[in-house]
Symmetry: C2
Subunit: 371 residues, 2 copies
């Protein structure tokens, strides 16, 4: 096997499968840094573990932990039959963004390799902490463990900033991809072309802005909306016109409704209400160790909480619950959106939001290798 492949994956027949296509496994990291996760990450670890165990009921999980954390995590997971714990260094634990973007192609005489991983550049979302050297190796280490070849890329991109329908369409946000802290020397057209060449898509739909309050990621699309099937997008919504989220949701609705996908379908939008505005408490902010190495966490900050930041496992939807009055409706919307999946709501997901993301952000699916 060649370990590193140069060139255009699309031209070699690769494409990024939709998240609902069959997975071989799910990759996750393990949170630990005390300057991002309160109380030395204890509460976050509990929720990460809960998410991993929930996913493992549907597909194998690989949970990566630093050398220091390994013994704890192994012990915690030693009776979890479908979770393996693998040692891996990291600066933080957002495998959606640091992990490889897996792409696949059908096997054939000219395509011995049917799966590969795109290894984008990573700069900690424009640098919300000052050292991401270990995070930068995560994608490489993952594909190496799987003996899967790697397409290195020069562009900075996080997995959470893109969604695909598996049929040629990508959705993303201008707020993130065109942010000067990512690829200031690339034009929108150049970025779009790279997405097409690497994800195997022919159409990119640009939504102006992401979720209100999602400043850590500069508006990742995966916190605002996602495909539930080709042609249909689930969009975070609020009916509260006074909520700054309202304007953003209306804007996205407008963009999506006026778009057609790669196959010429008009995009249909399904709304899912965001939880009521949530804010970081004094106690929560106070539990984060303040250092010069990471952006501070301030009490009163609006939390970027939404229900679309879920993970689609093989036959399961692993979605965040916030103990909010909208939780119940969210579950119903997800049930209708995914009638063939079992919806599992993970209580306590607020803990992940405090660190800057949610269940989709901490997971990375590895699709089944086509034969």
């Amino acid at each position: 096997m060649v370990k590193v492949i140069e060139g255009s994956p699309a031209k070699m027949g690769f494409r990024m499968p939709a998240e609902w296509e069959p997975h071989e496994q799910c990759w996750m990291g393990w949170p630990a840094r005390p300057d991002n996760w309160r109380e030395h990450a204890g509460p976050a670890q509990e929720i990460f573990a809960r998410a991993a165990i929930a996913i493992s009921k549907f597909e194998p999980v690989t949970l990566c932990a630093s050398a220091e954390q390994y013994p704890n995590v192994y012990k915690l997971m030693q009776h979890q039959r479908n979770i393996r714990v693998v040692e891996m260094s990291m600066n933080d634990s957002w495998f959606r963004d640091m992990g490889p973007t897996f792409i696949t192609r059908k096997g054939g005489p000219d395509s011995e390799q049917t799966i590969a991983g795109i290894d984008w550049q990573f700069n900690a979302w424009g640098g919300i902490y000052d050292d991401w050297s270990l995070d930068s190796d995560v994608a490489k280490k993952i594909v190496e463990i799987e003996r899967i070849p790697r397409f290195p890329h020069k562009m900075i991109l996080e997995g959470g900033s893109i969604h695909v329908d598996g049929e040629g369409t990508c959705i993303t946000t201008e707020e993130c991809l065109l942010n000067p802290n990512r690829n200031p020397n690339m034009t929108k057209l150049e970025i779009e072309n790279e997405l097409k060449e690497f994800l195997g898509v022919t159409k990119v739909i640009w939504i102006p802005r992401g979720l209100h309050g999602d400043e850590d990621t500069n508006g990742h699309v995966d916190n605002l909306c996602c495909f539930i099937k080709p042609g249909v997008v689930l969009l975070s919504w609020t009916d509260d016109e006074k909520d700054p989220q309202y304007e953003r949701s209306v804007e996205a609705l407008s963009t999506l409704s006026q778009s057609v996908d790669a196959r010429g379908r008009k995009i249909e939008v399904v709304k899912i209400h965001v939880p009521r505005p949530l804010y970081m408490t004094e106690e929560e902010a106070g539990g984060v160790v303040s250092t010069e190495h990471a952006v501070p966490r301030e009490p009163g900050t609006r939390l970027a909480a939404s229900y679309v930041n879920f993970y689609i496992a093989n036959g399961g939807i692993i979605a965040p619950a916030f103990g909010d009055k909208w939780d119940k409706e969210a579950r119903e919307v997800l049930r209708k959106a995914f009638p063939d999946h079992e919806v599992v709501m993970v209580e306590g997901a607020r803990e992940i939001v405090l660190g800057g993301g949610n269940i989709h952000c901490i997971t990375q699916q590895q699709p089944v290798r086509p034969s």
Copy 2:
């Protein structure tokens, strides 16, 4: 999959396959500690790399390296198609001794799991360095990566202290297994019973002593002799009656010649001459950083060098060469012993001996999982 299995592997139908049975891959570590490997392990790393590359021509290799070493090792191996580099912490790099002992059984209605790993206790050969906490987790981490269940064991044992013929016979040395720095509270009979229950053997042949000068391991059998096929043992030999090795080789010859194996075969012995006496030079010893954490390396120490410390890969024999006049004969003996294997001699293996072992000591075969 159950991760941890209690009970007797032999009673569950498991046995340790002979090293010449088909492998799925070979596991190796990466040397780094400057208080054991001279010149901050640079020369040793070169030879480990050479051995890994040689093995990878015959079977996949997994090369494990600490977080600190990972970037170097990845770069070094990035064009080696059959070598994957995996992050793993370790105190030193002797995967024969720290790794799991893989055992297999035929698949059947009551045996979903056809492979498992024995996770012996490890105490750095009675404590030649003072902290082996990371080494102790290596076996666990390896089986976890492979999603293979683990039989934890309470007895201290290193993989290099046993050899099996795959047909019910184990050879070992009293010098090592009965050394009070290993399992002082166990009798010889108790140790033998554990070998039988865990390796699936019915006969243990006890050779009194290992190779002269092999004080680090207290006379591991894998530096003195090995099976080349059932019923036939290859024994390190010298014709020089003044060499202290002579007495040990004669002693082993006597023991082996008077033994019958598990199938009732009289053991046949094939001799392979050791290299001429080799001693650690002033320069070599001087290159090792002296610390309070590891036994010192003294100039003038007799090196425990022998040709039987080789690795049997799928169709290949990866054996040490010392630049000695006996190298050529060793190659011929190995060719005759393994007519269906290609013999590859690794030049510069003296470097591994300086650290306390050789090619067999730094490798661990993972057998193919029976279907």
